[in-house]
Symmetry: D2
Subunit: 439 residues, 4 copies
């Protein structure tokens, strides 16, 4: 079999002093942290699409990469070559998981039947590859946004035939995910939104999307898929507005359709910031609403208003994210996927490795720092103290519903209360965090 | 009684050809549009705070205005002088409604008892003023964000005493609103959010806020207040993050606490854009979720990242907003409030009038244009046609829940469906809209 | 010859009451405004690239358009078919001008020699087309950003061979522009910037870019090109940072290389807003610095952080832009180009017309409104009055350099001056503007 | 003398393992780095205004702090008490420098003469304080933005009397700065911009500002002030648009008035990001243009659109900034000022210390990391290699101006050149940077 990344040996942990750019400095898979190995905590996945489907084009630029599997040729043969390259990459990278969209791995063909057939064949190939390499599937998904049939939405399309087409892809992708032992199934509604309100019926489209989600959940139970169904919020791009704007919006949608126990969120750092939130905010919000599912760790650029999908490289940002995840009990079926791509000028095969190695080291180091924060949890202690009044008489009665607005007003006025201001200590707490990050 | 705006006569409609800057060009209160007068459609309110409490300071600048009622003096006397000026202004402006926060109209005093007492006295004054002038109260509210006691939240404060203080203000403000015949009661949670997640318990604060909202709703029913309770979304500022981020977020919160039938939203244009949405989006979203209550018409500056609270002057933007409101059946208890302020260098009393006249004319003209759009509703016809498939067999079955995911997939695959792309016609529709705006 | 837009007859002015969506409501080419025809004022151009090269793909989506000239086939034959379609479109649209990049009109081929040869052949075709239709060339340009060779810059590339390649394209495109009677030559440095400072030498790249601009200016004079050289500012996208960030930045660059009398700017609305400015700001700034050259009228979406290149549809925004242009004396060699594209779901040929018709009507109406503003220029009169003090003794002496800092301080202190505040009248002036827009 | 910060002993270096929140973990003033002490590299300053003048108000909130020097009382007595508190703070903090605006330290009084007199008295006080404590003045400045007389600009005001008032403040502040041994004089044009173009003459205001800058430079030379004159760029806030938008804009302005050798920039992190740039970008740009003067190290919040002036706490961001400064040769007269304020809820005196300690530790650690990067400068080596072609024949000839556009085109075409793509290695380089930050 052809070797595609000849200059790269399997990537190993060599410690922070190594000068080998193709080694891990911090990700030591078996190192135990708070009773679990790094590998179990982080559950890293690499993705098929950015690494093996994207050709290095952007909206102003033509493909820049010269990958063998993108040369002209028989579509199924090329899909197999791509799978060879992908599994060589995943294996050498030493990630335990990968992720894919249906049309990443199989040619769409010229009809729905061709699609079904091609995809089925490629699922066989993937199954074989998983078996050979030990790689596992973090999640599968269907791409219902790239084909022009979805230009006005998939589940929210004005044409029920397009809904049906998308549903068929979801049906097949769920089946494949189950068969390949996938631990989650993800829905990113890239075109579930609008380009203009002038031609859009918001209420109708919400009903359609709610119906699709209910079908998905029903199907999951019917086929006995044990993984988690995940919605991936994003505020916009490619559409002007996307319905799954952020975690809080998805929560309202799920409550509306009675799905808040059935579906969780897959949070992406870059989507969080495009929605006007910090990455930590979205993770903490999801945790507080019981929706934390999985993470796409890729970041944006703070000065750019689109999805740059860069590899995470901030230990400062991700230590706080890891801290939220650890506080929430860690991942169950979720993990850290890199929905990341190298910059367009990073044309070499090695660049794919540099990107992931940097990302994995960033998250590993963030885990270590966050674990230290959790061990002697000064932040939580401060919070407990700060809200202590709510465990006392007045606070308890209010929260328990034992006092009406009038009761509270009477109490306060009769006692002519004067609350005492307490410092919020933000700078003190920020210094505490840095003391864990920079020993 | 002192006349504060001596250079200004009561503002009248003079038509679009007038050169009188202190006349309305488009707002003709009694003109009938779609069976109701402009006055009944628009239900304009001017606000107490920006016009009579703000002194022309900004975060880098000292007060720039020299209003008589801001000179040193006995606080209650000054409050009465302010009321004289305010009602002279409202009356000359010919708005039917006004709005206030408790501490806009009465001095806070040095204790809760003083507050209660001062406010009660000033409510008498306001009642008298309303009776003399015929002005009505669109809504009342409590300011639980300016006093430093609220620096870490009001309902979401870590100290239940602060919650109790805020609840007392709300209790008194609701009582005053009812007594003064207010048609709505508004809650803007300016400090209900966080400065840093490092000292914040999201779950706890959400519980507190939910409890407060439940108390408010219970109290409304108890006292027989017939108006609408409104939450005003805003994403941030003054806090780093505000829990009532946008309409979709508020919807999830209300669903969580079973309040989605009890509370509606008061949408502000500037808050919409700070949250990353168009003003039309927020209005359309609220209408589609059954939450459309009232509007703060003031806009932001598209290049600035804070709340500039400028008077609306875009007929293009507001025609679309009015169109959404008309499609939703118009206001019931709500109206258009100007939560707007003149720019700091607009130091003259006349400037307050120019700002409001421009805003009222903008909204009046937008109403006229939108009414024309509704009369022969080309947009709605296009939408009906675009989604027609959902009234046919496949669409109906899907929405009715008569087909499972597998059923849909089987149908699509067996028929090897190929949906036909249809143009979204955005440019065509944008031209249609402009043809209504620019005859 | 094949007719590509069979459903569209040549677009004519029919007035604001027409219900024909393929007619102009406001653009009446020969109507006289302030002594010149609308056609002469506006100097409209349509572009080759968005209309005839873009296939309806976006970063998440595959091509959505099914144009005949994008089907597989001989590259030169397809280029000729594209030219047929383009000139049919331009002619039916009744724009006097068009614009192109070298590789819009001719296949790049597999080598520089092929490029030169293909382009030369297609220039012959364009010349013939211009002669047949009477269409003129507003400007030509070279695309030195799409081919992956330019992924790290064209003039600012770390490899001088890439500079040479780009220079060759510019050489050929300038020659073609001259031969085709082009009235301007544009340089948009889409890749002249950086992806990361980590691999970038800012000083070196500035020298390279300055050198290229000097070469271009020298070449212009050498070949006797009488048109204007224009730089098109943009802050970012596709690169993280683009050196020609905005007009003020370009001004500093031009001063540095002594080119401020030789090069002007081509301002795009969408680039202005991405740089944090209003469109009017960029136009007014360019006018005040003597750099106003030409305009790309396409707008962005106020909620989106990337270049959406939408057709202008705001008369409110563009009246102010037209007002600045009229105050600056109008265009000389410049004009309004539509660097605009229909939304991806606007897949029909007619949509190209709807977009341009809406844009042309918007600009035509804006011209009419702005002309009214200029006729009795209340804004300029107010400005003259506001700054009147600078024509009096103190102001004149200061500006003439007749007083040192100490002189001024002595004068002010000795006289213990107390300047009197004057209202800035912003709301009053905004109302004046609306009174012109909405008669 | 009263001790204002009784709970705080002079802050000392205790190393990264300390649990004392009032000690430095990383700032070890005398530690030698690349041949200079940390103190000499960093040249830290604390500011008067945010720490001793700001009362904890925001645009929605009343003062939250209860400082003794803000209580009612004789203005000069309060100013002296404030000076006592300030110098106690600066001394305990162990910063070598401080900074002030004229009206931070002295009451404005009711007239220009009172201002001059009050300020002169307080300069005596400051001189005495400096002598007692050994503190030095990094820079002085005049506040020509808070008083309402400046609401429409200071140097750019439509009224030359306001220009004269501002010039008088600058005259006095420059004199005070010289007398107190200040090492720089800063000009931040907070109101030098516009609220609306509708009442603004851009050309006139630019002339006024240019004249003021020339006066300041002339005065500097006349009085023999040896420090550096610095302009502080900011894009907006409080005005809608500020003329000194960013470094590139200031460069164009300075070139226009022949001042590019006389004035440098004082770059603020938060202003950089508000202008759409990274902090590193602004520092690198200033260095590349020869304008790097001094730094205000305070950061913004990536999700907020206004100046939050937070203490720096990102070693990741500031290592790159320090790297640029070290590459540029380090500061001469400049330094790191903290134009930072604690969050409003940080009401305790200790919070002022926590903020600065965190900021100083962040910058000190960043210096250490950046120094390691410089020692074996992999980034610069990579850059040298990347641009090597420009030291070879073709590159040299191009840059030297020895080839015309035609020469280059002929060379390229004759040789049918095909440049070879090289990876930009962004991910590799980002990993290198992290390997220095996280050993």
């Amino acid at each position: 079999m052809t070797e595609f990344f000849k200059n790269v040996a399997p990537v190993k942990f060599e410690g922070s002093e190594t000068t080998n750019p193709l080694a891990f400095r911090h990700y030591d898979a078996d190192k135990m942290i708070l009773g679990k190995s790094m590998k179990e905590h982080l559950r890293f996945a690499a993705c098929y699409w950015h690494n093996f489907c994207w050709q290095g084009h952007d909206i102003f630029g033509n493909p820049a990469f010269d990958r063998p599997w993108h040369q002209p040729g028989d579509a199924m043969e090329m899909a197999k070559m791509k799978a060879d390259a992908a599994f060589e990459f995943f294996s050498k990278l030493n990630v335990p998981y990968y992720c894919f969209h249906d049309v990443d791995v199989a040619p769409e063909g010229n009809s729905l039947k061709e699609y079904v057939n091609n995809f089925a064949q490629m699922v066989d190939v993937l199954e074989q590859k998983q078996s050979e390499t030990g790689l596992k599937l973090l999640w599968g998904t269907a791409n219902a946004f790239s084909n022009p049939r979805y230009m006005a939405g998939a589940g929210t399309n004005p044409d029920p035939k397009v809904f049906a087409y998308a549903a068929t892809q979801v049906f097949n992708a769920m089946g494949a995910t189950k068969r390949l032992g996938g631990e989650n199934y993800v829905l990113w509604g890239g075109r579930e939104g609008y380009e203009t309100l002038l031609n859009t019926d918001l209420r109708q489209e919400r009903e359609q999307l709610g119906r699709l989600m209910q079908m998905v959940v029903d199907h999951k139970h019917k086929i006995g898929f044990k993984g988690t169904i995940l919605i991936e919020p994003k505020p916009q791009e490619p559409t002007k507005h996307q319905y799954d704007y952020d975690t809080a919006t998805v929560y309202g949608f799920l409550k509306d359709f009675g799905l808040e126990k059935e579906i969780k969120v897959n949070i992406e750092a870059n989507h969080a910031t495009l929605a006007g939130h910090s990455f930590q905010h979205e993770v903490a919000t999801a945790a507080s609403l019981g929706l934390l599912g999985s993470i796409d760790a890729n970041r944006g650029d703070p000065q750019l208003g689109w999805d740059t999908d860069q590899f995470p490289n901030s230990v400062e940002e991700n230590t706080l994210v890891m801290y939220e995840i650890l506080k929430a009990g860690g991942f169950t079926t979720g993990g850290f996927n890199f929905d990341s791509r190298v910059r367009r000028p990073s044309i070499d095969g090695e660049d794919l490795f540099y990107g992931h190695i940097g990302g994995m080291d960033t998250m590993a180091l963030s885990l270590e720092r966050a674990a230290k924060m959790i061990e002697n949890d000064q932040l939580s202690k401060n919070i407990a103290q700060r809200y202590a009044g709510w465990n006392e008489d007045l606070g308890k009665k209010i929260l328990a519903g034992d006092m009406s607005l009038e009761d509270v007003a009477k109490y306060a006025t009769d006692n002519n209360i004067q609350p005492v201001k307490q410092s919020g200590k933000q700078e003190y707490l920020e210094n505490i965090v840095n003391s864990y990050i920079y020993k």
